[in-house]
């Protein structure tokens, strides 16, 4: 995923500020769906490859008693 862009450069490509990119990187801001898709398109990756939730699909199924 490393492209050698600075936070400011990535922010300009996404149409957001460097602060927004920094906050997303350090986990202090969850991006909107629109920004998430922009990130995915920019890095040519599926959305789930960009984020690492602290649960798995199996956890959700287990919670539902399946």
């Amino acid at each position: 995923m490393q492209r050698g862009w600075s936070q400011g450069e990535l922010g300009e490509r996404l149409g957001v500020s460097r602060q927004a990119v920094n906050a997303i990187e350090v986990g202090k801001h969850d991006p909107s769906l629109e920004l998430t898709f922009k990130l995915a398109y920019l890095f040519n990756l599926p959305v789930e490859a960009l984020f690492h939730p602290d649960f798995t699909p199996q956890d959700i199924r287990d919670d539902q008693g399946e």
Binding site: W5, G8, V16, R18, Q19, A20, A23, H29, P31
Partner: protein, 213 residues
Amino acid sequence: MTKGNDAAAKPPMWKRYAFSAGMLCVGGVVGFGGGRFLWPGASGRTWSDTLSLIIALGLVGMGVAVLAGHWIDPLGRAMARSDSKRLDPLMKRLLGLQGVTLILAGLVMGGVPLLAQASIQGNVAVYAGVVAVFALQTGVNWLIWRHGDEFHRRAMLDTGALSFWILQGALFLWAAAERLNLAPALSTWDLMAVTMAVYLMLSSFVAWRLGNT
């Protein structure tokens, strides 16, 4: 995701110290000049008038500094801690709008007690002027909301929610104490000055918590 977390991408330490020292000097000059300006009429002034004048001075000083960051690219990049060679258009626009809104907020916060002190009271035309500056400031705030990105809007929403929660609680506790003859009555200007002071402290806190630096 980016190289932004690398130590090499951050501005050199001396530049950060120089920027902090520069800001301290600006704060010192504004504080000293403001003190000289405010001191002569200090006797007989209510605590809320003094507080709002101090807030006004701080707002105008910050507004001028932020506006300078909009015009002077290296200063703007230092303020936004930009890691690019130029200040990005979004931050440049936001610095300009924030500078204007800070100055306008300072004008209304400081103007009202100064007008009252000058015995310009009961004058509808003067009040209309205050309302016009306030309306202009509200318009610029709306532009900040509109032109900012989702992160800035989130910071504004968080600050608004936090200040509503804290101030509503504080207002209830004071009103209850006042109703029970345990605390003195406050004027609406007292409440306004406290509201503004709390809002400014909370906006700094929210910006710090979100890493809006």
